[in-house]
Every structure is written in C-alpha cells, then in structure tokens.
Assembly symmetry: C3
C-alpha cells in the first residue's frame, strides 16, 4: 500500500473511532441527537484542528475538505442507531479511544515532519494530535480528561509517534514504520488496561 | 442599510449579549467584579477569536481593534450594576445567549466566505463562531456546555448560517439574507425553549 | 543584565513555576507520573502557545525550541520527587502560580509589542499569556479556574503588563521596566491573598 493511501485510511479511521467515542459519551449523558453530533464531531476533529493550528496550516483540513466533518458525523449517526450493538463491546469508549490515540499519534507526527518540524517537535505534535480529541470530549462532558488519570495513555501516544519518527530516520520504509508504530501504540494502551499496568504515583503524604 | 454597517451592528450586538450572558453566569457564581469582567470578555470574544484563528487571520480582531474587548467589558459592567433589572427577564442567560447565537452564526459565516472558504466550510465556521462563546463560558463555570444538552441549539446556529449562505447563493441581497437568517436562528432557538421542542434521544438501554 | 537575557530567564522561570503548579495539582489528584507530566507541561506551555497562536507565530516556540517542554517536564519530575519539600511552602500552588502570573504577563506583553501590536492589544495579550496556563490547569483538573473566583488575579496580570508597556513608552530602560512590572504583579497577587483583599461583588439578590 502506498504511504499517502495508508495515511488517508488512518486519518479516516481515527476520525471515525474518536467520533464514536464522543458519541457514546454523549449517549451515556442522554444528550439529544444534535448534542451527540456536536460531541462526535468535536472529538473526531479537535485533534486534527489543533494540529493544523499549531502548524500554522489555517484554515484547518476539517474546514477546507469535506471528509473530516462527514466521517465524524457518520460516527455520531452510527452510534445513535446502533447504540446497543456498540455497547456489547467491552468498554467501547476506551476501545475506540485507544485506536484513535494510536492512529492520530502517528498521522500527526507525519504531518508535522512534512511541515518541517524537527523530530522531537513532531513527536510532541503527534502526541498532542492524539490526546487532543479525548481532552475536548472529556472536558465538554465535565469529566476529568483520561489523559491525566489513566495510566499509560499519553505514554502510548508518545511511544507510537517516537517509534514512527525513529524508524523513519533509521531508513525503515514509511508504510512499515507507520503500521508498526500504530500497532505498538494501540497494543500498549490496550495491554495496559487489560493487564492493569500502573505507572508510579507519588507517595501519599 | 449597507451590509458592512449591518454586520458591524450584528457583531457589536453579539459581543454585548454574549458578554452579558457570561457576566450573569459569573454573578450567579458570586465571582468578584474582575472575575465577572474576565468571563464576560471571554464569552464575548471567544467565538470571534476562534473564528479568526481558524481562518488564519491572526492576530484576531479582538486584539487589533479596540471595540470587542470594550463592548464585552461594558457588558460586564452593565450586568454588575443592573443585575436585578436583567434578572427580571425570563431566563436572561438563555435569552442573551440565543441572540448572540443567531447573530454570530451569520456574521461568522460571512467572514468565512470573505476569506474564501466554500459554503459548507463557511456554514460550519459560522456555527463554531456561534457556539464557541457559550462553550467557553460554560466550561469555565464548570457547567456542561448547553450546546450538548439543550435541544435545538447548535441546530439553530447551523440553520442560521446555512440560510444565509444559501440565500446569498440564490441571489438574495446581502442585508435581507443576513437579517432573515439571524431572525430565523434566534426564533428557532427561542421557540424551541418556549415550546419545549425535543430532538430525538437514543432509547434507554 | 541585557534585556534578551532577562526575558529568557523570566520565560524559563515562568514555565518552571507554572509547571510546578500543574504538577502539584496533579499530585493532589493522585495522578500517575505521566499524568503529572502532562499537566505540568500543559500548564507550563499553554500560556505561551496561546500567545504564539494569537500572534500568528505558528508553529509556537514550545514546538520549535527544545527548552519549554524540557523545563516544564523538569518541573513535573521535580514535583514528583520533592513533593513533601514543596508542600512545606504555605499554599505552594498559589505561590508558584503567582510568580508565573507576573512573569508571563510582562514577557507576553513584550513579545506582542515586538510583533507590532499596539500597547492596549499587547497588554491584553500579556494578560492572556499569564492567565492561560492556570485556566488550562484548573479546567483539566475540573476545578473552577481561579482567574474567576480569586480576587486580584487577572487584575494583577493586567497591572503588570500595563506597567511594563507604560514604563517603556515613558522611556524607562527595558530591564528596569520589566523587573519593576514583574515585582509589582507578583506582589499585588501575593499581598491580595495574604491581606485578604476583596474586590466588589454584586449585591445578593
């Protein structure tokens, strides 16, 4: 698969699963269909909008191309009509969020590299792209952003973006670097939840 | 009335009523006069700042021209001194918010069209301009943004911006298109509250 | 001391103390080490990122230079390992926050003047730079931003930025104007807390 095609797929996938996660949070709060759409779109496009603003690429892709809003809206409508099917997954918001996290970390890092940021800045921007949607979703739902209280969350995004940037610098072909990095980030996140990995906490005082 | 004059009036009006709504929320939380000013200014200018950042028009109008901060501050001071008069309105925050919503949806859409966005992007940016101030106000007051839990809120903004863009494309003169679209959006929002319109919600699971 | 060196010191100091304040809030909420880092970095760099975006200076300094993220991360690590030493200060979050507030108000105002904003816009941008980090920190921790409910908070930032801009316009040398303005803003903030200064509140209705 060519790299541009792979990244188009990753970006669409990330927007859709983040959109689903936002919609499921909205449904849990019993918002109406338009509230669901607003939260699914905000969650689906917030990371990419932040990325584009930080890169100086305004207006952001979400306003100049049709697909981000359309894909995120489709996720909202899908969640509305198939709520109980989605709820049959084990912790659906966590699952969708984990996939979006890994995908956007790598895709955000790539766009930052294309815009000329050096690798460290690009890794950080990938991480911001990945955690941005979830922060907007959780804050709008007046919940503490899970990036703060979940172990191995921003760390998984960081690992994904860093793996991609380092692999690329080491001469790994782009599609292999991207696929591997996404898999690593998503696996890290899911494994940490499943296996209950804990990062160090400060001692109680 | 010329279109530029009409839009100047609309922008000043929107900034003032959003400023009032922010101030009334601050007063309800018993913040001091400077807290009231911060929330009235944040609510009054946040939508326009977001609009300008997304259009790549930085520094935003609120920092390069005098009036947005001045008008929003004036709204804060007005609310401080005339609290009980404003509270005599039925649900003053909702009322001010509805007027600002309709005004900014259309004014934001127009600025986006002037910056060369295509109609769909411009409608979405008009909606973001309209709902941005209220989201900032509600999140800063740690309330769930009403764009999520109020029926017919983002939908009213969307309808206003879309009506304006479509009317313009259909050859309706600009002042007529703008006035009609603002009236439509504000009426939709107020009617939905007054008549208790409900949008569909997902079935309880 | 040369002005560029002074401002480098001020920016590093502000980033570090805001980073500490974010970390201490994260520790109070018992987040893990990566959650602490995310909140210390977000708090340390949010004000400057907002400043740069509003000035049209994207990508912001925090992504193109190494030090802001490094300094804010160092603050997070420091808080993690020296929690009880920091807690021996009287109200450490308030103290760190006050220093960052004064420093960033003046440094933000200076950068805005360098980018050609007129003095009033530059003072406002200085204030936004100063209060931005604390707003992000408090909202992410689902607390009401202290800029809203603490007396003499945004006012102290405003006073610092305004003193700097006015002194500069009056011909005061830059290092003297900056040092005096920072001292004034920090003192105002700390004195208001220590002496319990109250700004007017609206009468109870």
């Amino acid at each position: 698969m060519s790299a541009p095609l792979l990244f188009t797929i990753l970006n669409v996938l990330g927007t859709f699963v983040f959109g689903l996660s936002g919609a499921m949070v909205a449904i849990r709060h019993r918002f109406d269909i338009f509230g669901i759409l607003v939260l699914s779109v905000a969650t689906g496009v917030a990371g990419g909008m932040t990325r584009d603003l930080l890169l100086g690429a305004a207006p952001p892709e979400a306003l100049t191309t049709f697909w981000p809003m359309a894909v995120a809206s489709l996720a909202g409508v899908t969640a509305f009509f198939f709520t109980s099917a989605i709820e049959r997954f084990n912790r659906p918001v966590m699952l969708m969020d984990a996939v979006g996290l890994g995908v956007f970390a790598v895709a955000g890092c790539r766009k930052a590299l294309q815009f000329g940021l050096d690798p460290l800045g690009a890794i950080l921007l990938g991480m911001i792209t990945a955690i941005g949607g979830g922060i907007v979703r959780d804050i709008m739902a007046t919940e503490t952003p899970r990036v703060l209280h979940e172990d191995v969350y921003a760390l998984a995004a960081f690992a994904g973006a860093a793996t991609y940037a380092v692999a690329l610098a080491a001469g790994v072909p782009e599609t292999a670097a991207a696929s591997g990095a996404v898999l690593l980030a998503v696996s890290l996140r899911l494994a940490s939840v499943r296996l209950g990995w804990k990062l160090p906490r400060p001692p109680r005082s």
